[in-house]
Chain length 304, copies 3
């Protein structure tokens, strides 16, 4: 039987997406299920990521599995010059599943080719973070009741933000979507994505202004962070740094059913006065990550 | 139901203290009890602390719980600029209990306000370390048979030592105590504590000399470390650095029932020739920490 | 009952070796056995070592035990100046078994003297790494069907390589061995080992050339890494650095039954074109480590 890795969001079909949504809802009702009894999962974080690691490790624990691994590469043999190939070959001998985060793009795919056991990509550099996309989708279906016919507004760094790219790919498998991209010109949505949407006849609109009027019609407002490091010219950064910040007062014109998502960690791109607005959903979104990751693990290992 | 955090030793009443003593004795008889089956505990150490972390994590393991977390903040999202608020809101979504160590005073109280699940403070800077106080009390009741009518001698850094401050607060809930403070003038017991004792009519005495005669009448000798960093003037440190060191020969005049406590780690403030003296109790005290922490966890989650 | 530490390979008798081989084979057939139910193992890695740590921690997990500990000393109280004595006394109070890796030679023996619970040495500096030797032996018996009458060829850094030294000691307990040492003069097998073999009438041969002809008759080819840091004169290193590298073409004259071992991590001393040769055994050897460590733990705690 072919092993079922999850490296890129496009490894999953529409049916996989729907299956994960169904399983995540099941795990939300009953998070503690002993499906991983007797199984050991390697949690290999070659760079730190509290949220993703803790939600994966909690998911594994709630499924009754054991965890071995490391939370940053300084405690690994990488410091001795071992190649990723050898580390993965070794670890895949010991365990039943590998969850891996690595700073280099493409490393997760490479690991999946080397490994005998399934690999779940928990983020490989600027490339892919598919479990984030699945938890975003679960947050959307939970709050909107559907994955189609959505008006999705994405704000901030749309150039380097891997989460928005993957979400576009996944949601475009469903009908009736409408995308709105709000970003400074330096961080605009790359042409390959706008082109992709055009070819699929999915409407998309671009803005540089982030105003209450622009987002009035949104079902989902997906915020991301504008990072100083992304700008070659610091003056350009100074110009835009306060433009893509969401304040509570900007939500007055929005729909009651709007929900605000953010992959977290947030720095200052959402003011804390938004946190108590019922439209703020990012902390619950993070919790959904635990159920979604239980679903992904169960699906990957064919336990459900 | 209000959640029962343990942030400061004064969060507990006299009855809580006695209940913890009772439970700790029960766990000492039978350390492995499956009370945390199916539960996940976050062990968030924003600064390293082997002893406290390992004894908490062993306690959780012996109770059948699972652990997620980190052992220093470099493996956490704090490095990405995430606030403590967001980290705690996120983690408290995943788990059933948070054990937290943080270098900043007040951080534990703040975390308990943000968290949905109970928080146990495993030390917040120079402020509080209540589980240490409870294990000190358990060590006292085990060795002296009582928590009242004690002659407590505290030695070393009484100015910054959070453990001695908390122990004074806790033991002053019991009758007939007598406190003796032995410290260099620069590190004397702060006035707020001597004043507090005076107001409660609890006798306390201060000394700068650490001699066999001074401690002859002690029931408990609580040693702490005099750290160079605490002194503004290095000459002052040089003057006192060898004065507050306990040597075995200094114990000749002391009672048979005396027991020596130290929160550990010790550097050189207790000579190793004391270790084999039956009055040395600090390693058993550390072991008591495991049972006491099992008791605190069970009490916090209402499992007993 | 005397506790059964494993600090040096010579702590074990010939019977112990054979018992471990037997148990390892049993765990290979059935890796998940709940022998450590209710037990807590301290995994104390004072320096990083992914392979050893992960295989130990997986072994403990597959035996149903719980793990506490640290993966490098920066998260431990060592940074506060605590002595190894105090750390071990404290930890041995909490747990049922200690697995320890430490950069200082002799530290493991010292820990075993301080600890109340058994200690397994997972490597103490350049001194000993006995569990590696036992997994090497298990790899030999699995592939050659015997532990005696072997032609063992060791290549590379034979001066500082603790794994080759221990393997010589262990295998010399069995009859009919023949040792061949291939190394640059600066890294030749120390006289104490060649002398030891001479006294036991075990033939051994030394070479500086690493050629296909030299290894044609080998049963086991044990590769190790030539590290730049070992040379006082960089020119000497430059001269030999490419001489002790195994390439696939060098294996043409070797026996079908030859197996290549390496303690890993490898850097460049075995070309990756060897990996797919059926004589390459180092990744399976690493896997054998898990079963062997399960065997060692069970043997140490008298669980089998």
């Amino acid at each position: 039987m072919k092993k079922k890795d999850l490296i890129s969001i496009t490894d999953y079909t529409r049916n996989d997406y729907l299956r994960i949504m169904e399983l995540a809802a099941e795990f939300e009702k009953n998070p503690n299920q002993n499906l991983l009894e007797g199984k050991v999962v390697a949690s290999l974080f070659f760079e730190p990521s509290t949220r993703t690691r803790l939600s994966f490790e909690t998911a594994i624990s709630r499924l009754g599995g054991r965890i071995v691994g490391f939370s940053d590469s300084s405690s690994s043999s990488v410091t001795k010059g071992e190649t990723l190939h050898d580390t993965i070959r070794m670890v895949s001998n010991y365990v039943d599943l590998i969850v891996m985060r690595h700073p280099i793009e493409g490393s997760a795919r490479y690991a999946s080719e080397v490994s005998k056991v399934p690999v779940i990509n928990a983020g490989d550099g600027a490339n892919q973070h598919p479990t984030q996309t699945l938890l975003d989708m679960y947050s959307i279906i939970k709050t909107q009741g559907r994955l189609d016919n959505l008006k999705i507004y994405m704000v901030g760094d749309l150039k380097y933000g891997r989460t928005v790219h993957s979400l576009i790919m996944a949601l475009s498998e469903f009908e009736g979507q409408e995308f709105h991209f709000i970003a400074p010109p330096e961080l605009a949505m790359p042409r390959e994505y706008t082109q992709f949407l055009k070819e699929k006849n999915i409407p998309c609109y671009e803005y540089t202004d982030f105003t209450p009027e622009v987002i009035a019609d949104a079902d989902i407002l997906y915020m991301t962070r504008v990072q100083k490091e992304r700008f070659s010219d610091p003056i350009e950064y100074e110009k835009v740094k306060n433009v893509y910040i969401l304040k509570n007062e900007m939500l007055k014109l929005t729909k009651d059913s709007l929900r605000i998502l953010h992959p977290l960690p947030r720095v200052n791109e959402i003011c804390t006065d938004v946190d108590s607005n019922p439209k703020a959903y990012y902390f619950t979104q993070a919790l959904n990550g635990m159920y979604t990751r239980e679903a992904i693990i169960a699906h990957t290992l064919g336990l459900k």
